[in-house]
């Protein structure tokens, strides 16, 4: 009888708490939609990385190859190879803008002007003697070809190091491919025995490097495939921590918490109701993010549902425990909200949900590694994208469980302490 009554009370508290979110648009946004918003924005921005479908780079091309140059006393305007080079650039991942001169930053209509105004990421200048040098038209006094190198210039935007690096690597990669094709063409034209052609080919291009992404899951993965399991960590932070911290503090401010305390309901029943509601919101948030990942980004994941459910529960212990501590320390709901924002906003960048910890400074990496949320993200990504067996994920799972139980116990202690302050 008493148990039945306690269960009814617990569910009544959980339902009321849940309605507090469901019927409050602002709370709904910060709890459920804020992490989703991040996923969608970052997913669309970087999500396709890893597929080779890099976004088209805006590249300026100044083709001076058609300008007349003096070759052995004769003016030459041949631009065959320069034109082929430009056509090649257009056929790959570049959005090509053609210019007559490189110019300077103050001259509108030049490549330099557009770089300084951020219209293009890089500019490549094809010299006037590009075709002449590559077709060995320079000869000495005996009529023998003179080896002359074509000098391509690549200019990049210093204000955007990352964008410039990507553009530069793209251009150099294209040039490398173009040179290889050029070499093969020349070797085929030289009248040497068939067997020796192979040696010439090796001498001109002695080392062959092929870069490929390792097959770690049996399927081709994009960044978004890692990101979606990762953002489940955000569900813990934004739904679990946020809800647990704000819910009780808010009820204390409104006086409804005091009204529950003076009713014949034990404080642990109140806590259980709040925990249930927070847990439900975390699961809902996780569900929404996974469905969004599937529908919007067509993520390809391995589904170990029992592990996912269990792990979200363990992770929620940490988040809700931390939330209880915040709600107990905060004087009112506004203070609790402020503390949650101060903790949550930076925290989400240290758990490896959006960006790998490896790109961060060493102290930040060390800090991130200690967070149970980071371990949660590692396990989720390990299980859902790499299909790792449970045994290899066990150290992180134990870490999450120990941390979660410890923090939840501390949260309960803080909650008991806060009851004395009513």
């Amino acid at each position: 009888m008493k148990l039945k009554r306690t269960i009814r009370q617990t569910f009544a508290i959980a339902k009321t708490d849940f309605l507090g979110i469901a019927r409050n648009r602002t709370a709904m946004f910060f709890t459920l939609l804020f992490p989703l918003f991040f996923l969608i924005i970052i997913g669309f921005t970087f999500g396709t990385a890893g597929t080779g479908e890099t976004s088209r780079i805006r590249l300026g091309v100044v083709n001076l190859d058609s300008i007349a140059v003096n070759v052995n006393g004769t003016l030459s305007t041949n631009s065959t190879i320069g034109d082929a080079f430009v056509q090649g650039l257009k056929s790959v991942n570049f959005t090509v803008f053609e210019y007559n001169s490189y110019g300077d930053k103050d001259s509108n209509g030049t490549a330099a002007y557009d770089i300084s105004n951020g219209n293009i990421k890089a500019a490549i200048v094809i010299p006037a003697n590009f075709t002449e040098t590559l077709s060995f038209q320079y000869k000495d006094s005996f009529g023998a070809p003179v080896a002359t190198k074509a000098n391509l210039m690549v200019y990049t935007d210093p204000s955007d190091p990352t964008g410039s690096l990507i553009a530069q690597q793209g251009v150099l990669g294209f040039v490398s491919g173009f040179v290889k094709s050029y070499q093969e063409n020349i070797i085929n034209q030289i009248q040497i025995p068939q067997g020796e052609k192979e040696f010439v080919s090796v001498l001109t291009d002695p080392i062959q490097t092929t870069a490929r992404e390792a097959d770690i899951s049996g399927r081709r993965l994009r960044w978004i495939d890692y990101m979606v399991p990762g953002v489940l960590g955000l569900a813990l932070i934004w739904a679990g921590l946020n809800r647990a911290a704000v819910s009780i503090a808010n009820e204390r401010t409104l006086g409804t918490f005091q009204r529950m305390v003076i009713a014949p309901v034990s404080p642990m029943t109140v806590l259980a109701g709040k925990f249930l509601s927070s847990l439900l919101i975390v699961y809902m948030s996780a569900f929404v993010m996974l469905v969004t990942g599937l529908l919007l980004f067509q993520v390809s994941l391995f589904w170990n549902i029992p592990l996912m459910v269990a792990l979200i529960f363990l992770g929620s212990l940490t988040a809700i425990g931390l939330g209880l501590i915040i709600s107990s320390l905060a004087k009112n709901a506004d203070a609790a909200n402020a503390i949650v924002i101060v903790i949550s906003v930076p925290l989400q960048f240290f758990i490896g949900a959006f960006f790998p910890l490896s790109i961060m400074p060493v102290p930040a990496q060390m800090f991130g590694e200690t967070l149970p949320f980071t371990k949660f993200v590692e396990v989720m990504q390990g299980s859902m994208t790499r299909n790792l067996p449970l045994s290899s994920l066990m150290p992180q799972i134990v870490y999450i469980a120990v941390f979660g139980i410890g923090l939840f116990a501390a949260g309960i202690a803080a909650y008991w302490w806060s009851l004395k302050r009513l």
């Binding site: 009554r5 009370q9 339902k15 006086g255 009204r259 305390v261 003076i262």
Partner: protein
């Protein structure tokens, strides 16, 4: 069966160096409508929080219907209904949802819960359509009635009401007085915390006046007034109040005290005068005021109120304390 519904025995509550309630003892009989009066900071709220079980006393004991609140907290909570001063409801839920929630919290369910909700919806005077609207859309009076209903769902024997009419307009205040009277008529024990002396005088069988954490007087309003040995007080409204005319009045023979008071509803300042023989002192008081160059807008003899009892006992005005 206990004779008293509330027994407070030598209760003290300390907050570090501050003593909020100092060795207070009182007994409230079954079915009594009891008033707890005093200015802000007198210790009323702390005492009611301890009686409701929200706060533990530093020392002393409290029994509700014979049950010690420390030994049988759940039983005590079932017997008690607490109506907070503020509207303490979930404004994102409607009246039915709020009542259902608080009913479940008090262990009600099924048909019984539904019957009680129906009964109390009638009490709140909300129609079915309004009862399904969110609380945030209600008027102040509607919210207040639902706030009270939420504390009555489990049909408590003892009802604690903390400043129930604070902030209400005169019409709603009178309507709430009717509700309080009706609860009393149903045999409930009602403890009313208030700083409004007219309210206490009008409603309460007995009142305890608290000051600085202690009960300084406890009796029926009539007997408390009688104990002052004053029948009337004098109220003077001059065109302006300064120290000059107050000093002049104090010099009049038989005048015990002169206080500058404010009628909060109409924002009028006036002088409250207690004198041994008010009828005889009245002409001299008028002369004293006029001699300072002030004009008198109104002067009257008033019946002694609990406010005057407080002034007579402490030398201070309740309203001054609040200001």
């Amino acid at each position: 069966m206990a004779e008293y519904d509330i027994e407070v025995d030598a209760v003290t509550k300390r907050f570090e160096a501050t003593v909020a309630v100092d060795n207070v003892s009182l007994k409230v009989e079954k079915g009594e409508l009891f008033g707890l009066l005093g200015p802000n900071g007198a210790g009323k709220s702390t005492l009611t929080k301890m009686i409701s079980g929200m706060m533990n006393p530093t020392s002393g004991s409290i029994k509700i219907a014979g049950y010690d609140i420390r030994e049988s907290p759940m039983k005590v909570k079932e017997l008690m209904g607490v109506i907070p001063q503020d509207i303490v409801l979930y404004d994102y839920m409607n009246a039915l949802e709020n009542l259902s929630f608080f009913g479940k919290i008090y262990g009600l369910s099924g048909k019984l819960l539904q019957e009680r909700i129906d009964k109390l919806i009638e009490f709140t005077q909300l129609d079915q359509k309004a009862a399904k609207r969110r609380i945030s859309t209600y008027s102040g009076g509607m919210k207040r009635r639902v706030n009270i209903a939420a504390a009555l769902l489990h049909e408590p024997q003892v009802i604690l009401m903390d400043e129930p009419t604070a902030g209400l307009d005169p019409q709603n205040r009178l309507a709430l007085w009717d509700i309080i009277r009706s609860l009393h008529e149903q045999g409930k024990t009602v403890v009313l915390t208030t700083h409004l002396m007219d309210e206490a005088e009008e409603l309460c069988n007995r009142v305890a006046i608290m000051d600085k954490g202690q009960i300084i007087a406890l009796d029926t309003p009539h007997r408390l007034i009688k104990k002052t040995n004053i029948e009337h007080t004098i109220t003077v409204i001059p065109d302006r109040i300064t120290d000059e005319e107050m000093t002049a009045i104090k010099k009049v023979t038989g005048v015990r005290s002169v206080r500058k008071l404010r009628e909060t509803d109409e924002n009028i300042e006036y002088l409250g005068i207690i004198a041994d023989q008010p009828e005889e002192a009245l002409p001299d008081i008028m002369t004293a005021v006029l001699s300072t160059g002030r004009k008198i807008r109104s002067i009257e003899l008033s019946r002694v109120t609990l406010e005057d009892v407080f002034i007579a006992m402490t030398g201070r005005s309740l309203r001054q304390e609040e200001e």
